[in-house]
Symmetry: C2
Subunit: 683 residues, 2 copies
């Protein structure tokens, strides 16, 4: 080919140089610019020879270099050239709203807004508005497209042009799995296809960046596809007809978000994703209740019980009654029972057998068990594994929810175990259509499930879900979800989750919202000391997860006997709440460690959780988050200094001390270690 690459590089350099100052030597409309309330973050948008472009800077240093915007459609002109920046509107916004449940009760939404109008030169009625909101912790922008006929979107052209030398933390969007990979830490140049939230640190100890999306409704989720040199392009999940999104003539996309922070924890201490979602549309949601649960579940993962019928069937009347008693005696409000319903005995993964959502196995008397639970002041947690057969579930879910409502079951764990791209729906004539977990159809399916569940005052905890984009603000009955490697991988994963896993999740997956990780495994080697799968944390870190991994519903995932064998450690799980007045990520970096402080909602106590990666470290924990002048009894669950996830994971020290906000607590985090602390307000 003719010598193209050098020309390209020069063009990039010119653009990169121009962005910082928002002046620009190219033939283009005047750029428009909006900054964050604190003035540090600037978003610039312009038209370059008719092509819409944007860039983002922090303190006048480029974060996102000149990047394209637009769409290609199956029919009709693409929305990427011939567009002039014809007008802008600006505004600002500052209010505080209350969450019904959450990592903090009050959320401040403080941003400046710019609406940049791109219109075709020959047709000022057609084009799109780019609505941009700039917060102190990052930016969000979305397209508001004006057309004259429905759109079949093939490609959204949104690009994030980051420095190639950045470091990135990510899971691959390639392959068969649905977000359930070990996170990779690589240079950005080694990223190929990556899911969001996608976290990066710019070169030379530069700022931290996380790319994601907010308010994913009636649209396909994206992954990021590196083109070259740090250029990440949005790629939408295609539908089975090859169309990524079927949209109306006028349509609005989800928000594309770029969080920016000086310190890694700044990514966590940001409410951008929630703020870019619409307020609660369900009205009274007092029936959505945070809490803690136990269940018949881990036994199947460590192979001592089965989902299907047979001599080791887990979901029996006897096992369930025992679990109800354990829950009632130890302050849990829920009992999850998997494998209760017909459909587990055949080749359900390949959908040779489909699930019933109303018919129980004969050894599971759902009526009697529900009644017994009510009697003991607890309740069953429902379970709906779909095997990815969306039609089968949509046909039955109303009946399933009605049954559960009648039985007093108010939370349902759903499941979508199927290879990525292999969810199925059936057309009226029975023709199967295969869908992605993050495609438009699945996105809308999850909303249909939420809405149907809400009619029955039921909350949903989806496993193998679409990624979280903050929809819990609008539908607070989406109470939790999976969407990453959870504890189950420690039962059978080869390799299991490495020590770096949770300290990485905190800065990646967990930026998007709650995760039902199912923490609290006390028998760290349930398959024996030589098995390839085991828990690669200390016991103390298992306690810490109740604070470091946010979820309004938290499981105590291990078998009751393992808790009863360690009542001292178990006490922390009994004590820890799951709904918070506020939360603060104090320190840490991806894969290294994470330290959280959270104050319980409706109470004065504080909790700290610290989860460490593979290298020992010292933490000096300043307590200035505590109320000034108040004394607290700190109950500390710390790694013994000789502890180590691999060869001495159970060595834990439990201590008590009096502290105030001017104190500092020093402790060691061993490899794979952790710390869990309760601060009981004393006066």
């Amino acid at each position: 080919m003719p010598r193209r690459p050098l020309i390209l590089s020069i063009a990039f350099m010119l653009l990169a140089a121009a962005v910082g100052t928002t002046s620009n030597a190219h033939a283009q409309d005047a750029p428009a610019r909006i900054t964050s309330p604190d003035g540090r973050i600037a978003f610039t948008v312009w038209s370059e020879q008719g092509a819409p472009r944007y860039a983002v800077a922090l303190d006048n240093e480029t974060v996102v270099r000149a990047s394209r915007l637009g769409f290609r459609f199956a029919e009709g002109a693409p929305l990427e050239t011939g567009l002039a920046l014809t007008g802008t509107q600006t505004g600002s916004h500052d209010d505080t709203w209350e969450q019904p449940w959450g990592e903090r009760r009050l959320v401040r939404d403080h941003h400046n807004e710019l609406v940049a109008s791109f219109r075709y030169a020959g047709n000022p009625e057609r084009g799109f508005d780019l609505r941009i909101r700039v917060f102190d912790s990052g930016v969000g922008f979305r397209y508001e497209v004006m057309g004259d006929a429905p759109h079949a979107i093939i490609d959204e052209m949104t690009r994030f042009n980051l420095p190639e030398q950045s470091t990135a933390w990510w899971v691959p969007a390639a392959g068969w799995n649905r977000y359930e990979y070990i996170y990779e830490e690589t240079s950005l140049s080694e990223v190929d296809r990556a899911h969001s939230p996608f976290t990066a640190r710019l070169p030379d100890d530069g700022p931290w960046v996380a790319i994601h999306e907010a308010a994913l409704h009636d649209y396909s989720g994206f992954y990021l596809d590196q083109q070259r040199g740090g250029i990440l392009d949005v790629k939408l999940a295609p539908g089975p007809d090859g169309i990524a999104v079927h949209a109306d003539a006028n349509f609005t996309t989800p928000w594309r978000t770029i969080q920016i922070a000086d310190a890694a924890v700044g990514l966590i201490n940001s409410d951008i994703i929630l703020n870019l979602n619409e307020p609660n549309v369900l009205g009274d949601v007092s029936w959505v209740e945070p809490g803690k649960y136990v269940g018949i579940w881990w036994g199947m993962h460590i192979n001592t019980q089965t989902w299907g019928s047979g001599p080791n069937h887990g979901a029996t009347n006897e096992n369930t009654r025992e679990m109800i008693e354990f829950a009632a005696e130890n302050g849990f409000d829920g009992i999850l029972v998997e494998g209760w319903n017909l459909g587990w005995d055949g080749d359900w993964f390949n959908r040779q057998e489909t699930f019933s959502f109303t018919e129980a196995y004969p050894d599971f008397d759902i009526e009697a068990l529900s009644a017994y639970a009510r009697e003991r002041g607890v309740r069953l947690v429902g379970h709906h594994e779909t095997s990815g057969d969306l039609t089968n579930y949509e046909n039955q879910m109303e009946a399933g929810f009605a049954l559960y409502e009648r039985l007093g079951i108010s939370q349902v764990k759903t499941g979508y175990v199927a290879d990525a791209g292999d969810l199925v729906r059936y057309e009226a004539d029975g023709t199967p259509r295969y869908e992605w977990h993050y495609g438009q159809y699945a996105v809308n399916h999850h909303l249909r499930v939420l809405q149907a569940a809400a009619e029955h005052r039921i909350s949903i905890n989806a496993h193998e879900p679409v990624k979280d984009t903050g929809i819990r603000r609008t539908y607070p009955n989406w109470i939790s979800r999976e969407g990453a490697r959870g504890q189950e991988y420690n039962a059978w994963g080869v390799p299991p989750n490495p020590p770096e896993h949770v300290p990485t999740l905190a800065f990646t997956r967990l930026l998007s919202g709650p995760m039902d990780f199912t923490p609290g495994i006390f028998d760290l080697m349930p398959r024996g000391e030589d098995a390839p799968s085991r828990v690669q944390t200390t016991l103390a870190q298992q306690l810490a997860h109740y604070v470091t991994i946010y979820s309004p519903i938290q499981m105590a995932a291990d078998l009751p006997d393992n808790y009863l064998a360690r009542p001292d450690a178990f006490q922390f799980i009994r004590d820890v709440p799951t709904d918070w007045e506020t939360s603060i990520a104090l320190e840490g970096e991806p894969g290294q460690h994470i330290v959280f402080a959270r104050q319980e909602r409706g109470g004065a106590d504080w909790y700290v959780g610290a989860a460490n990666g593979g290298a020992a470290r010292h933490v000096g924990l300043g307590l200035d988050f505590l109320e000034d002048g108040r004394t607290y009894t700190a109950q500390l669950y710390l790694d013994h200094p000789d502890a180590h996830w691999e060869h001495n994971p159970y060595a834990m020290m439990i201590r008590e001390m009096q502290v105030t906000s001017t104190d500092e607590i020093e402790f060691t985090l061993v490899p794979g270690g952790g710390a869990a602390i309760r601060f009981v307000a004393e006066n």
Copy 2:
């Protein structure tokens, strides 16, 4: 999720164990099996619970584990389940056919054939035949689909399930480029998206495998997408409407090929790709003429000349007349002149300016220059850079070819410089549609160009083309192409082609067919000794490329002065032919080295070329390819033992000696080194 992964692994193991014996404990139709003429390679095909599957073994050892087959369509039932293996037909074939030009004159096509019929249980008229041909050097199979309405193919489900621990040599199919990457050598587990030919070696010094396709017509090219554990899925390039392939009710796919060899050179010494293409449809192709050419080209790449007009314009009357004289005096028959036509002065890459294929710059008198070339017994080589604007080219190509035919120009180098996925065609109303270099539209475009060119007795040498799939057998006027990193990357590539490049090309890209690499650079550091771009070979390897890189048209790419400064080395380029009676890859492995012997067509002389990677090695070259009892004068162009691509690249020894077929020649290949040998038949 429930514990799916372990179940999966067990299923794979059972299948893998079952394949070697072609018996199988699963509920399925009886498998059908066909072996190669020598009995070593076995292809097994069956239906597993209605899903078509195949596997491949060598000497009863699994090469490709049980792998799926089938299609998904935008509408209508997918062709992947509900299918029974209802019948088989077998046959065998052995003939030898003659190439008009090629790496060997006579090609033997010896294979066994199995046609396996998969039909819907309820509709024996619908389904597909899998036509399988098994050669001693591998297998090819294609689908022959019977439907009742046109098909909009979304996904072809063909899978290649290889051992994850295999080693792979590949270029990424991700990103903006079109095959022009440095090859990677990784474990198969590190492959994400890879173009074909895709080369792998099975674990434990197992057999060598190359996956590719043959006879790509009216269909999209594929790349391989790793799902997990060595499972490579075919992914077809999507069209701009989201449909990968628009096919008739009945359609036939290209052949999917799996070459298998004990030694790496066995992959090269195979004619599977050609044998799976249809015979010549052009009739008399005596006007398709192998040969050697020079040109006004390298100066643009090293920045001393320009494509566009101005003081350094390369395509001037004066420069061209000088080049015509140089060609005539040194035995070249062609003179390529790039930058001769209008369109190079603006932003052609972004198609702000489009090319004319009939209008020359004022300082290029195409009529007079063509006449002058004819007078000197040579001719110009045409040049058509399209900038990826397929419509602009299709609108003008007839006029362009007519002009060239009238002027006696019989070869045209075409160019498709545009980012991958950014070729453009325009609908009647001017709406742009973006296409992939290997998508169905581009595949058909290239055929339209070939056919239009053939009408004017013109041969095509396409740069930034679709990959080669052996169509030269059917259309012998597709005389060469690019489709990988060529010499130009040594002028401006950062990094340039590494020493491993050509020894890797031999076992990857070059399995597909001829490459216009443009070898023969004598000034190895054209931008100075400290420039990041340079040639990373010795001078001897530059000579060797005329033998190691097959192309029926070979450029002497450097500036004439550089050849005139080294007449001794230049003599080999003057001597070496470009059309061969036969070719033998003698030894080598990807990235290590490659040694070829070729006999000239229509003559008795033999030529050997050896290209080495980064590590010095000794070669003992047995000469048993020479005719028994005949004496040859061997003219050897060898690396001096002190030579090294980096610090002493010009040190070359030229020797002459008498040899016969019983002799062995020993020589050293230095890092980045090479050897070129002419064997002149003496009696």
